[in-house]
């Protein structure tokens, strides 16, 4: 019997359709159907100014908006040959790690709700709002920030941010203990999640699966360690690893990642306290639209003579490895922007970790994948 789980289904957490063939309660075959949220972001980007693409990036992955801004901005800066100042890099890492915690907390809320436990959804949303308050204090947005710019970030942090941040981090560390007690302390949770949705390391690599799913299979790969971008080589943290390759493993990896993010954030906050400075690159051409850029003739000159280039960036987004490829053929618009979404690839291996389990296992397994349809369909 084929059943459609989606596009309107509580399991999907977005807009996609999982067609499942079942016998009794056992899944025999699956066929994911994507594209219900395809908004043509790559195409629209070709008609947009480099800094206007950032608006789209927030909406590409709506639970990890600023990580996608970071991804795009790195590629765009490489394509445009712009180097941001150090403080901007640290602020970007601050944003990305905050976003990682926010995204993982959101995942926790949704995932545990899929298991039928309702309270963590509320707890997760409550704690996520604290992080969003911080975002709001320096970007103005809760979900869509438009904060990073080619050459830096839009504005510096308002005074007092770092102190408030430290308080939030302490609060969050206490909450993580509670989260763990609610889940790992529950016999039913372990019974539901152990040996579920197993995707072994060699399958992960063959299907290009990345992020917490890969690390839960025991593969040590984290772009922040392997290919340190921004300032990740200057902060001290550990890679979160599990070896069970199942839903519990992914849960443990994400929980550990949140703790490591807090660790990174504490270092970043300390650094930001000690090193004031500019947050935008000087001498940006005027057409790049930077608020602090010098206004004058040279902007136009630079525009005409701006060198062509190709930018490629890779970041460890909350869901996994994301890549951006930006082709600059001169002019104000990118010639072509191409993104690699981690969830897209993780979903394309779905038949490997769904077939053979119960129908009741589909929501926790898909929950542990952490689907964000916005970045899948783009």
């Amino acid at each position: 019997m084929w059943i459609n789980m989606g596009p309107q289904h509580p399991m999907t957490h977005g807009l996609w359709n999982l067609r499942v063939k079942i016998e009794g309660e056992i899944v025999k075959e699956i066929d994911p159907e994507m594209g219900f949220l395809h908004r043509g972001i790559e195409k629209i980007s070709e008609d947009r100014h480099y800094n206007e693409v950032i608006t789209l990036m927030d909406r590409t992955c709506y639970v990890a908006g600023i990580a996608w801004e970071h991804l795009y901005i790195q590629a765009a800066e490489q394509a445009l040959h712009v180097t941001p100042p150090a403080r901007a890099l640290w602020i970007r890492v601050l944003c990305e790690e905050m976003q990682r915690i926010a995204s993982h907390v959101m995942w926790y809320a949704a995932f545990v709700q899929d298991l039928g436990l309702m309270s963590p959804f509320l707890y997760g949303m409550r704690d996520r709002d604290l992080l969003l308050d911080h975002f709001q204090s320096f970007t103005g947005g809760r979900l869509t920030y438009e904060y990073m710019r080619v050459g830096g970030v839009r504005n510096d942090l308002p005074p007092g941010t770092t102190d408030r941040m430290r308080k939030t981090l302490d609060w969050l560390m206490d909450r993580f203990v509670e989260y763990d007690r609610l889940c790992m302390g529950s016999e039913i949770f372990r019974k539901r999640c152990d040996d579920l949705g197993v995707l072994k390391a060699n399958d992960c690599i063959a299907y290009g699966v990345t992020g917490p799913m890969l690390r839960s299979a025991g593969v040590r790969r984290d772009l922040r360690k392997d290919r340190p971008y921004a300032i990740y080589d200057q902060v001290d943290f550990d890679m979160a690893i599990a070896d069970s390759a199942d839903v519990t493993g992914r849960y443990l990896v994400r929980m550990e990642e949140m703790r490591q993010s807090v660790r990174i954030l504490r270092q970043v906050v300390d650094w930001l306290d000690k090193h004031p400075g500019p947050v935008m690159a000087p001498n940006l051409p005027r057409w790049l639209g930077a608020p602090y850029a010098p206004v004058g003739r040279e902007g136009y000159l630079l525009k005409r003579n701006y060198p062509k280039g190709v930018g490629l960036s890779a970041i460890e987004e909350p869901h996994g490895e994301a890549n951006a490829y930006v082709v600059n053929e001169g002019g104000e618009h990118p010639y072509r922007v191409k993104f690699r979404s981690p969830v897209y690839v993780n979903l394309s291996a779905a038949h490997k970790y769904l077939v053979g389990y119960h129908v009741a296992d589909i929501p926790p397994i898909m929950g542990s994948v952490d689907v964000c349809v916005g970045e899948v369909d783009r």
């Binding site: 596009p7 309107q8 289904h9 509580p10 999907t12 957490h13 977005g14 807009l15 594209g35 219900f36 949220l37 395809h38 908004r39 043509g40 972001i41 195409k43 629209i44 008609d47 608006t55 789209l56 927030d58 909406r59 709506y62 639970v63 959101m106 959804f121 509320l122 707890y123 949303m125 409550r126 996520r128 709002d129 809760r142 979900l143 869509t144 349809v373 916005g374």
Partner: protein, 202 residues
């Protein structure tokens, strides 16, 4: 802006925006049958008898306000997340905003809902599913277009795959601006809808 891609013509199962007239093929919905149609023949007679007996004013003063009160205080939205606004939609049910204070409880089945909150970008691919869901909801029902995408396409209005405004597909009662609107804005929209229902004359 450059000229539209005029070469586009409508394939059988999907609507293409640039041909001037777009067609959305709502698949079937053949399994719907509105119960109560059978009894409608003798309702008018009974109604006439009652109006002469009890007077229309009593109905307007007593019955309708009660039902309107009930209707506006228990709006069950469909549990459906489309895009970015769905996250704020979820936040509105979180601990800080807690939309359940107003009796708003999301249900997963359209049969049990009376409010369709279109929280995100609607693409042409999902358009007929949206219409199907709308038609599966029993009357009386309302629609809230949450966010700029649902209102008019938002930042993606130029895209080839996006419906520029969900009001092209289903009748919309309340539009909420914002990209995405904050949870307060969503609650405000729901309260505005409650005002609309209060004045409803049925």
């Amino acid at each position: 802006m450059s000229a539209p891609a005029k070469a586009i013509e409508a394939p059988p199962t999907v609507a293409i925006p640039s041909a001037g007239v777009a067609e959305v093929t709502a698949p079937a919905v053949p399994f719907l049958e509105i119960e109560g149609l059978r009894s409608q023949q003798f309702i008018p007679a009974a109604k006439e008898a009652l109006t002469s007996l009890l007077a229309e004013r009593a109905h307007g003063k007593l019955i309708r306000p009660v039902f309107n009160w009930a209707g506006r205080n228990s709006l069950f939205p469909l549990h459906w997340g489309l895009a970015c606004c769905a996250i704020e939609f979820a936040s509105a049910f979180g601990a800080r905003w807690d939309a359940e204070r107003f009796g708003v409880v999301p249900r997963s089945s359209p049969r049990q809902c009376d409010l369709l909150i279109v929280n995100g970008t609607v693409t042409w691919k999902v358009a007929h599913k949206l219409i199907t869901l709308y038609e599966q909801m029993p009357e009386p029902k309302w629609v809230i277009a949450m966010g700029n995408c649902a209102t008019g396409g938002g930042p993606f209005r130029t895209a080839y795959s996006v419906v520029p405004g969900v009001d092209k597909l289903v009748p919309v009662d309340v539009y909420i601006a914002g990209c995405p609107p904050r949870p307060e804005a969503l609650l405000d929209g729901i309260l505005k809808l409650e005002e609309l229902i209060r004045e409803r004359q049925e």
